[in-house]
Amino acid sequence: MKYDVVVIGSGPAGSVTARFAAESGSKVLIVERRAEVGVPVLCGEGISQKVDDYDMLEGRRWIANKVEGARIYSPDGTMVKLSAEMAGEETGYVVYRDIFDQELARSAAKAGAEIMMKTEATGLLKENGKITGVKAMQFDEEFDIEADVIVGADGVESKVGQWVGIDTTLKPHDLETCVQYTLTNVECNVKYCDFYLGKEVAPGGYVWVFPKGKDVANVGIGVLGSLSESGMALKLLDKFIAGHPELKKGEPVRLLAGATPVAEPVETVRDNLLLVGDAARHVSPITGGGLTTALEGGKIAGETIGMAVREQKFDRETLSAYEIGWKEAFGKKLRRNYIVKEIMLGFDDKTLNMLADSLKDYKFEEFSTLSLVKALVLKHPTLLMKLRPLVKISEV
């Protein structure tokens, strides 16, 4: 079995990488350990409207609900609203991640990529120290897949990077441990994604309520790994729901757990092997959101691989165009957001209440974490002094 590229994992980053590599003329194989693309869902299912700009998803079947903004609640209940005031403008979607992922896999297949289900990559094939493919196992059958380029799109628990000596182990401080119910028959405002902060609510993280429809919502929690104890996330989520009558009256139709990196990105190119998406830690350390960066990074990876295949050059220098590309596209943003995360983790509940109070009537110019950070810097220059140069950098 010989391909130009083998992609390990059929999540958004893997499928988009595969699609753009295939569109550039490469022979691509995606291997997926699970029995269904996108299932089980491991995600809060919120995404910025920026996804429309990428134009990677056909149709609207993957959209559960369009939202107009976000409401952030401080520990004492003070609400800060981020919304695009201009009538009719969308700011984000709550999606069906299984359909979302399957749509992206379908585009990869349409471009010519092959997909193998129930197939786990178990290690690298090497010849004279050079990576020549992966060892794989489908059901009980073991076999070799030769490939010029290997892509690790194997998510938060990535093993592929470790195979070439990239240390992708996350410190507990750099991981949010999450659990989420999809609740039906709840009362929720379909216009807003809600976020609840506070030491008692979600240490080092937040609780989210993302409406999927008028009486259905994803209600989940992320707790920072270093502040977590065994089973804490689920206990705190149950406690939160019990304290909110509008949610308590609902019944769950789904329970899922997840983990998201809130780390600085790692090295993403080693020899002829690339890491994309969560495996590359391409996730905003503030929100834990990684869908848009997975799509953006995957496209850059796929195009880079396409170029390498055309030129038949698979050295690190050629493939480093990917690393240079994503650093230009969103590397600064991830670095800045990591620093913001560190600063925010230092805020006690009193400070969060004070900050929320100062922003409760603020008119945000746009719906983004950057606009929130800018407003905070503007209102509290001394408190957020460390951020001033970074906010300037990000405006360039």
Partner: protein, 61 residues
């Protein structure tokens, strides 16, 4: 008596992969849709026990 090694309760595990991501010794893998500890590699650091969102990992001597 040795230190307690991590053990995953298969009935509780929801396969989020968090324990795999934080394990400093690469001692946890996904196996059949559930996390699985390779006991020989486990150094009893308990990081995975603490980060499990549903309390599916415990220490076993």
């Amino acid at each position: 008596m040795g230190k307690p090694k991590a053990k995953v309760d298969e009935k509780k595990c929801l396969a989020c992969g968090g324990c795999i991501a934080v394990c400093p010794k690469d001692a946890v893998s996904m196996c059949g849709g559930r996390a699985f500890v390779i006991v020989e590699r486990c150094i009893s650091c308990a990081i995975c026990i603490r980060i499990c969102p549903v309390g599916a990992i415990s220490g076993e001597v």
